[in-house]
Amino acid sequence: MSNNLILKDISKSFDKFQAVEKINLEIKKGEFLTLLGPSGCGKTTTLRMVAGFEAPTSGEIIYNGKVINDLTPQKRNFGIVFQSYALFPHMKVSENVAFGLKMHKYPKDKIESRVDEFLDIVGLKKHKHKYPPELSGGMQQRVALARALAPSPEVLLLDEPLSALDAKIRVKLRAEIKELQTELGITTIYVTHDQEEALSISDRVVVMNHGRIEQIDKPVEIYKKPTSRYVADFVGTSNFFEGELNDGILKTKNCNITINNTNGIIAGNVTAAIRPEQIELIPEGAKINENVIEGKLIVIIYLGLIVRLIIRKNDHEIIIDILEKNFTKLELERGQNIKIHFPPTDFLIFNN
């Protein structure tokens, strides 16, 4: 059975609030799937339905060919990791990890070695006799991960596991989770609102909005070929131009833009999007005439590897990312006028 976990027409409403609306999803065995979206988009509710904490209002959750809607969380054997760690504060680290093993009636003599094994994997063996509040946030989340994985769950569910941590630790632990997941080959559903996290860790990303799925794709596709304005806006940064498209020319309030790849859309009221790093600065004296705009450089944001420039043309602001080394070479200053060029092939077009 290759289709390991299937959500079929899953909806969930709380009183009058529709949290999830007719979601369809297939998660393959061993896959790392991320539900990405802003708060309130239904991603956590979806995860909690898979875990068994919430019952779907309608639809079926199918695991290995069986409908598991009515199975209690205890019987699903899915491991879960929460944003708040949810470590048992009255138990030592080792007791926390042993808890699931005891509940699953592991032989007593094997529990200790298995606890040690998993604490070793997350690098916390020497802290096994401490209580959770004595550990840092990152350590606590590692314990929670070990606790969830120790009883060999069939699916691992992670609900914003890194959101409560510092930026540095977040990136480090992210890599560790990915490594561990690949090593164990465990089917994983990961919930986050952080697009960078989603893109860097997942096999596939599900972008959600208002309880619906906007797009399911590999990270690179999500970034390079968003299928809606919403995804283009939520994942990464985009410049948007609204206007009338006709014969490859987009007429906006401020200017006309030539667009070569129009996704088959020929004419109509559309939004064109272009990523900041696709826009080029035109050096003095270069002879490009098409898709050129001259504007005033109003903001320079120094980000290290790249530098973000914001250019104002009439009332429109355009964001451009250039490499730091180029920025230094050009000796740009705030307030000066610069010319920019939109490559006609780098646009994405969405119907309005």
Binding site: A51, G52, F53, E54, T72, P73, Q74, R76, N77, F78, G79, I80, F82, Q83, S84, A86, L87, F88, P89, H90, M91, F99, G100, M103, H104, P133, A144, R147, A148, P151, L157, A164
Partner: protein, 567 residues
């Protein structure tokens, strides 16, 4: 250039002044507590160790252990200690278990009408502390509605059983509040984590819920123990010859003028009371450390069976608590309980010194206590938490001790110092019931200060700093920034003080004088004189006044809440 330096000088002067304002105000609160808390208590300890001449009613000044030796040699007196412990332990066990199940229902199940149940559970707080005993006697006494009327049995409720049941009903809301806070603060994701790891509901309850709430449970238990062992109103009404320490103090002092035995028993009562307080304090701190800031208030729908069980249980408790009040209200409107059920208002014609006026005395005294108490404790919380002068630690210590001292002991301490033939503070102030006001103020200083400190912790430190950097001095900062931000906390302290002052008996029973009578004390006197209709009527009026004032204050608080922005 010159303007800058003068400004600088002025601001330096301001900081200098601010520091001294803190010293003076904090110092005054400290001295107030020294005089009206430490002095009377230490004096009681001193007198319990002093030789006494019973016939002359005089302490000789000679230091001796004779009072304690006499106490422990007299089996009937030792019995009062054992009785008190017996009462306190059983009250503690019953109340904690009953309140825990109730609080669990309110916090961890999806039963309906939770808010109504919560408020009903708080009802005993608005009643004078002997109301439970009075109601139980009306139902289960020798002439009780159920015992004599329905069952026609000789069995009655007087004695230890009656006291224990009264204490359980009296202490229920106190324990419930603590357990409610504890259970709603524990992260319910812990239960989910346990479930996903394979734990059943029951094993999750015993392995996760109970252990994580244990400090709250211990803290509630210790508080109930303290309340039950120091309560005076219920045992004096329903005890019938079953002596406990608090009634013993009263009888020795008022009945026999034996100040030696009174102070000795007071010291003996203070030992378990202080111990229970320390445990309560310790566990409350521990409990706070277990509370997760990420606590998740959402709870999944409970299974129907669970819902039914908790609904039935909760409403049974609510029914009992309301019946207690209902019986007394009903009793105040019938001619003679059990004999003549004709409706009447005659019980409201109080034939006691002061008549109906005692109610107004209680009301205005309680309003003064309320405003003064709320203001003083807020000031105190501000100084301790935000200004942190060098004496913050001892000031904090003195501020939390009052809860450990039984009100009765404090009252006794007051008459032994401030109301002697050498000095009578009340006389000096032309019959102002100053001692009563101060005693209620000091007796309840702990909770007021602690809740003020919590409130101050919630106000961002930068508020204070922002006001200072904008040029406001400390008085201005307090009055225009801190006070407006603390209005909700101020009102809740005010209400707390007001209620305590309206219903307390033990703290004031030694302090009433021929000029000043209080409603709650009149209830006891009426009941002891056999005018149980009138005592019920007075209780009804007390509850009515408290509820009316709560509604008025509640109205203000609600309006204020919308305006208050706390970090």
């Amino acid at each position: 250039m010159s303007t800058i330096s003068t400004n600088n000088l002025q601001s330096k002067k301001k900081i200098f002044e601010d520091k001294y304002i803190v010293y003076i105000v904090g110092g005054l609160i400290g001295i107030f507590l020294l005089i009206f808390l430490a002095l009377p208590v230490l004096n009681i300890i001193r007198l319990s160790l002093t030789e006494y001449l019973p016939k002359q009613h005089e302490f000789t000044g000679k230091i001796t252990l004779a009072n304690f030796i006499d106490y422990f040699k007299n089996p009937s007196m030792v019995q009062s200690l054992l009785n008190s412990l017996w009462i306190a332990i059983w009250s503690m066990l019953f109340t904690t278990v009953l309140a825990f199940i109730f609080a669990y229902g309110l916090t961890r199940t999806t039963i309906r009408w939770k808010k109504a149940l919560y408020y009903i559970a708080m009802v005993p707080l608005v009643a004078p502390s002997m109301l439970q005993a009075m109601a139980l006697i009306s139902l289960f006494g020798s002439n009780g509605l159920i015992t004599a009327g329905l069952l026609n049995t000789e069995w009655n409720i007087y004695g230890p059983n009656g006291i224990i049941i009264s204490e359980v009903l009296y202490c229920f809301p106190h324990a419930m509040v603590i357990l409610y806070t504890t259970l709603s603060a524990v992260d319910s994701r812990l239960d989910e984590a346990a479930a996903s790891l394979g734990a059943s509901g029951l094993s999750s309850f015993f392995k996760i819920t109970i252990p994580t709430a244990r400090y709250g449970i211990f803290s509630a238990a210790a508080l109930v123990f303290n309340l039950a062992i120091t309560d005076f109103g219920n045992p004096i009404i329903i005890g019938r010859g079953y002596k406990v320490l608090s009634t013993e103090i009263y009888l020795q002092v008022i009945g026999m003028q034996r100040f030696d035995l009174g102070t000795t028993v007071a010291v003996i009562l203070m030992v378990p009371s202080i111990l229970a307080f320390l445990l309560n304090y310790y566990f409350t701190k521990k409990s706070a450390s277990m509370i997760s800031s990420l606590a998740n208030p959402e709870i999944p729908p409970s299974r129907p069976a669970k819902k039914w069980i908790f609904t039935i249980y909760s409403w049974f408790i609510a029914f009992v608590l309301l019946s207690i009040v209902g019986v007394i209200v009903y009793k105040s409107f019938v001619k003679v309980w059990m004999y003549n059920w004709t409706p009447t208002l005659s019980h409201f014609n109080f034939r006691i010194p002061g008549g109906m006026g005692v109610l107004w005395t209680s009301l205005w005294i309680s309003l003064i206590v309320g405003f003064l108490g709320a203001f003083l404790t807020m000031l105190n919380g501000y100084i301790i938490e935000k200004k942190n002068p060098f004496f913050a630690q001892p000031l904090y210590l003195f501020s939390i001790i009052p809860a450990a001292i039984p009100g009765l002991v404090m009252g006794l301490g007051y008459i032994l110092i401030f109301n002697t033939r050498f000095m009578n503070l009340d006389d000096i102030l032309y019959g102002m019931p100053l001692l009563i006001i101060i005693n209620v103020l000091v007796s309840n200083f702990t909770l007021g200060t602690l809740s003020s400190i919590t409130n101050m912790k919630n106000i961002d430190n930068s508020m204070d700093e922002a006001a200072t950097s904008l040029g406001a001095g400390i008085t201005r900062t307090f009055m225009q920034v801190i006070f407006p931000l603390s209005k909700v906390s101020f009102m809740s302290n005010l209400i707390y003080y007001f209620m305590r002052s309206m219903v307390t008996v033990s703290a004031v029973i030694f302090l009433i004088s021929p000029d000043v009578h209080l409603a709650a004390v009149s209830v006891i006197n009426l009941e002891k004189d056999g005018k149980d209709g009138s005592s019920a009527a007075m209780s009804t009026l007390i509850m009515l006044v408290v509820i009316l004032v709560l509604i008025v204050f509640g109205f203000f608080t609600r309006k204020k809440k919308e305006m208050t922005v706390i970090e």
